[in-house]
């Protein structure tokens, strides 16, 4: 129970120490991108992993966060920190709208996946032509290295900020496993009719999870805009974002506290190795991701975390099935 909260604290504290032991800028950049993938993936995991609603369109939330942050700063002179908050709120609102439309119509399973994909694509196309988003050119955030502008000289500061966001997302997942809302969410993932018969307001719980999920993923988008200071329609709303959002938690273990984090580190490391081995062959990392995804689905359906739990159980000589089947222990 309290165990997983302690692990969240320890893991986050350990990761926070990395810049202090003299990691290079290349290493920090790698970790920042990996943490960003973990954050976006954890957003997906709230709805997909705990709620069983597999979205193929989390780019809709990521992009909303990124664009709102950038546009508010560049066109309306809004403070970057406030813009960041507004970006998260915008992602949550977009999540609420999409969730309302999709769940009111009772779409589930592959229909849900396809419709979320379609929403993200519509937003991508709109962003690629609308004047306010810079249309095909994209939106550039002016370089302005000041704390007030949410821009820093040191990569370590960016790293600590994204790590803090990941820490919050881990806490959210940990809370899901310890609260009524989380219990209801997992119940409807397993069986909607049973959940309804036991008093679960399936629509309301799905809506809550979607808004939460969208907000976390949007925070990733806001951070992206602040870190790279440039976004365009395919960076923000492209299907690559949606794929990476689901890749990390599926590889790491869906519906677990640490799945998205473990998966993001594993997938990103593999991507780097692939680049070293294959040189700059374009798209090689995506090809590798595909192979990894197939391997995980085929051989470790509960991901890295599930594999770890199974091995741990075997090591301790207790029943493997007991832990492997319990599903909710990170």
């Amino acid at each position: 129970m309290k165990g997983s909260l302690r692990v969240v604290m320890v893991v986050s504290a350990a990761l926070a120490c990395v810049p202090l032991v003299g990691a290079s800028n290349v290493m920090l950049n790698f970790l920042i991108v990996a943490m960003l993938a973990a954050l976006v993936g954890q957003g997906w995991n709230i709805l997909g992993g705990y709620g069983g609603q597999y979205s193929f369109g989390h780019a809709a939330f990521f992009g909303s966060g990124a664009y709102v942050t950038a546009i508010l700063q560049m066109h309306y002179g809004v403070n970057a920190w406030i813009g960041f908050g507004c970006g998260i709120a915008a992602g949550a609102i977009v999540g609420g709208i999409i969730g309302f439309l999709v769940f009111r119509s009772g779409l589930k399973g592959s229909y849900f996946a396809l419709v979320t994909l379609a929403f993200a694509e519509v937003l991508r196309i709109v962003a690629s032509v609308a004047p306010i988003t810079g249309a095909g050119v994209g939106t550039l955030i002016k370089l302005d290295i000041r704390l007030e502008a949410f821009q820093f000289q040191s990569r370590a500061v960016y790293y600590w900020i994204i790590l803090f966001l990941v820490f919050v997302s881990l806490l959210i997942a940990e809370r899901l496993e310890q609260t009524r809302f989380g219990a209801w969410l997992m119940a409807l993932r397993e069986n909607e009719d049973s959940a309804r018969a036991l008093g679960v307001d399936v629509f309301a719980v799905k809506m809550g999870a979607t808004v939460l999920s969208a907000a976390v993923t949007a925070a990733g988008g806001c951070f992206y805009a602040q870190y790279f200071l440039f976004i365009d329609s395919s960076i923000a709303f492209g299907s690559r974002v949606s794929v990476e959002a689901l890749l990390a938690p599926i590889v790491g273990g869906t519906g677990t506290v640490f799945g998205a984090l473990a998966g993001a580190l594993a997938v990103r490391s593999l991507g780097e190795v692939a680049k070293i081995v294959a040189g700059d062959a374009p798209g090689i990392d995506l090809a590798i991701y595909g192979v990894v995804l197939i391997a995980v689905v085929a051989f470790a359906p509960r991901g890295i975390v599930g594999l770890g739990a199974t091995l741990w159980a075997r090591l301790r000589g207790s029943e493997v099935g007991r832990l492997a089947g319990s599903g909710s222990h990170g």
Partner: protein
Amino acid sequence: MADPLLKVDHVSQRFGGLLAVNAASFDVAPRSITALIGPNGAGKTTLFAIIAGFQLPSEGRVHFAAEEITGVEPHLLARRGLVRTFQIVQPFATLTVRDNIAVGAHLRHRARRAALDTAEMVARQLGLEKFLDQAAGQLTVSARKRLELARALAAGPRLLLLDEVMAGLNPSEVRDLLPVIRAIRDGGTTILLIEHVMQAVMSLSDWIHVLAEGKIIASGRPEDVVGNEEVIEAYLGEGAARQYGGSRAS
């Protein structure tokens, strides 16, 4: 007799040209075990789905605790105290038995701790305590049936609808479950059950309604219903009552 807890009033259900339930009316008295029996395809499960809010009837009304509930959504009915189980058990397969039952308990308890405590208590009541940390998907049929019952019970219902909880159990498992169900009634929960296992129906029920071809054809105490000619014919075919002399077959 006290006012009925559940009142089904001329409920009909049409599926295209098929009249699955035909103006069925019956009552369930508070603190009773009432059985709804009838041959396969009589419309029992359809009636259950209507009562529990999973299906809107073509015609008729359902009243629960003196309020009309026709068309009220299942989760709202559960909150009012009307909880059903499913004939084909639907456990939350990857969750543990403890977590499964806790979902039911959360209806009355917001706090996780309280829900888990209730889950443990209910599990003990139904003999599931040794499975508490097992995934529900790994249970035997008989344990899954009890889990289905446990989850519903943990939701603290006033009226519990049991859809064939005995089906698939062997006679000794049925015998074990009978006192459990009686204890639930004695604890103040009214029970309406659909059941094919006649041994269970006869021994448990305070009152029986017989449904055939969508209509209630007989109602009464168990000993009255089994001797009823219409009931025998509904089960065994026309002329059967004469052949078997309306005997009080057990």
